[in-house]
Amino acid sequence: MVQAIWARGKDSTLKMKQPLSSSISPELLLKMYVTMVKIRKFEERVADLVISKEIVTPTHLYIGEEAVATGVCSTLKKQDYVFSTHRSHGHYLAKGGDLKALMAELYCKKTGCSRGKGGSMHVASPEMGLPGSSAIVGGTIPIAVGAALAFSMQNSDAISAAFFGDGAAHEGVFYESLNFASLKKLPVIFVCENNLYCTHLSVVDTLADTNIYKKAEAFAMPGVRIDGNDISEVYETAKRAVENARQSRGPTLIEAMTYRWRGHVGPYDDLDKGLRSKEELDCWMQRCPVRKLEKHLLKQGATSQLEINQIHKTISEEIEKAVEFARESPYPDENDLLHDVHK
């Protein structure tokens, strides 16, 4: 099976580098490490809160995929737009969204980033350049293209990025969007987070050709497959794609190979349901993107174990404050029900 080959790192199209090597400055790498730890710890805490039934809204956890959002968003400016999916928390935090407001949204409280009306799958941080996420597979891909169209009409040098999963490659709108963006040479990058599963189905059971990056060729645009668990590779690839977009050289499709440690939705790993093997999960957990970067930073002397411990402690405290904030926040008032249907 193809995913088993990927899992063992034997697929020739996927050169999983181990360990990480990078020409990125230690300062930036450390900054990205902080973001990745923030996403990881946030998601782990959310998993606990879902198990304890404090969080009810369906949560699709990003654990294991942190390098993709972090690497891509680190190449973007605040003015650039990012559009997200049902698996939204990582993109939100990587783009700089407020952590407290995100946690409050998962509690569906009035102080949430979508005022308790969106839940986990619909988060937004307009001030940080995340104007929304959609729970319809592939739904935000054309929207990102539209933002790029607006930027080009406004002669702005802003760009937009669409995140989506491998399941979006089943949708017609994905192909329509690639065509339109390439036709008009729009400043957009397409980031496919290929975590090998669309809900319960493996890519090999859903795609006639599992090389999603090759779809780009049909639309006369560059497509590249990368190790999505290697922050350096994600960052460098995204940087080139963003640069091309900014200079009106058109869009790029990036297929970042990665893996979600938890199931499609919720806190559990789904192993008991027979949807994937423990061998496969173990293999990907050994390729933890956060650990990989941490090892690199320690080896290069860019940080110390002491500093890493401090980072973890600070983030944990920040998350606990957010939980406290969310718990204490009011629910939306009954009167809010009919508000915001229209401007």
Binding site: G132, I143, G146, V341
Partner: protein
């Protein structure tokens, strides 16, 4: 199937805005243009005046695809602001939404409503929900220009009038002008809105002439107007059916039947006050809409009456004049029976009077 506007429309233009216009006013304008020219002029003025407004969709640079409504625009504004697109309805609708989120106002053209089914995901799941879903933080000002183009033996996939589907979806407003004056004023309002609005445009209206000021003006959403005064029966009509209702009213007048024709202009929100005021006066109601019967606009209007206190004072059952629950046929012999017209409205009015 296209005809000239009834004489009465030209002389007593009981048109514009607000409930005060329930009374007819004599209005004399400088010039008359037809419905298609009104749209063309308005598009031109809106794009010219507002840097954030642009036109996008299939056929907008074609000399024939959308009638004459976009003629000259590509020459004047170029391909950056008049964007003809691949037939990718869903993606292009998402593109319009994305542009709206980046402070633009796209006017998105669907040359036939039938093609909007391809775009329903972006319209219903995305555009309509976006403002609510993020707690009112983000606006989606997109004008969805939805063209009905039927008749001519075009059959089931080129003839549909699916306005009722859009009125069902929270987050969307739906307008349906019937006169050149309202075609302009409501299109201006759509662009002034910070909300998504479906602008229903029936090509059977294109040749109707009426007085239209040259300058930009707006017609409020949610305000209907009385087109023909009467005391015996109310005919509530939408879009093209307004003209058929007026024709019917004029014929009926010769038989001493006084029909009041209410043009809703907006399908959502509905001008319930105007509707109730007229029905309260006449006690009899016929509803004429160019869509299907079941769960259609006529069903919604009936329900509004049934839910209201005035239901007690209704003198006869309500009659609906609409399409039968049948796809559009090709053969013109069947089309003649399929589409509602003035004759069917007249028969309906006479029936409610007999009940």
């Amino acid at each position: 199937m296209q005809g000239k506007a009834p004489t009465r429309m030209k002389t007593t233009f009981s048109t514009m805005c607000t409930n005060e216009d329930y009374e007819e006013h004599e209005v004399n304008f400088m010039r008359k243009i037809n419905f298609a020219q009104a749209i063309n002029e308005t598009l031109c003025q809106l794009i010219d005046k507002n840097n954030h407004v642009f036109l996008i969709g299939q056929g907008v640079t074609s000399p024939w695809y959308v009638g004459s409504t976009t003629v000259g625009l590509i020459q004047r504004f170029g391909s950056k602001r008049v964007i003809d697109t691949p037939t990718s309805e869903n993606a292009v609708t998402g593109v319009a939404l994305g542009a709206a989120l980046a402070r633009m106002h796209p006017i998105l053209c669907f040359p036939r409503m039938d093609f909007m089914y391809y775009a329903m995901d972006q319209i219903a799941n995305h555009i309509a929900n976006w403002h609510y879903m993020f707690g009112g933080q983000l606006n989606t000002p997109v004008t969805l220009w939805a063209i009905i183009n039927r008749g001519g033996e075009q059959a089931a996939q080129h003839s549909q009038a699916i306005q009722a589907i859009f009125t069902h979806i929270p987050g969307l407003k739906v307008v349906a002008p019937s006169t050149p004056y309202d075609a302009k004023g409501l299109l201006v309002t759509c662009v002034e809105e910070d909300n998504p609005v479906v602008y229903i445009d029936d090509r059977w209206l294109y040749q109707y002439e009426g007085e239209v000021p040259e300058e930009l003006y707006s017609v409020p959403i949610g305000k209907g107007v009385v087109r023909h005064k009467g005391e015996d029966v109310t005919v509530v009509a939408t879009s093209y059916m307004v003209h058929e209702a007026i024709k019917a009213a004029e014929q009926l007048e010769k038989e001493k039947i006084k029909t009041e024709v209410v043009d809703l202009r907006s399908l959502k929100p509905l001008d319930e006050n105007l509707l109730l005021t007229s029905v309260k006066k006449t006690g009899r109601l016929v509803i004429a809409d160019g869509g299907w019967k079941t769960c259609g606009i006529t069903a919604e209007i009936s329900a509004r009456i049934a839910e209201n206190d005035i239901f007690k004072s209704i003198k006869a059952p309500i009659i609906r004049v609409s399409l039968p629950d049948t796809p559009a046929p090709a053969s013109s012999s069947l089309e003649k029976v399929y589409y509602p017209n003035a004759k069917k409205i007249m028969l309906a009015v006479k029936r409610v009077l007999e009940m």
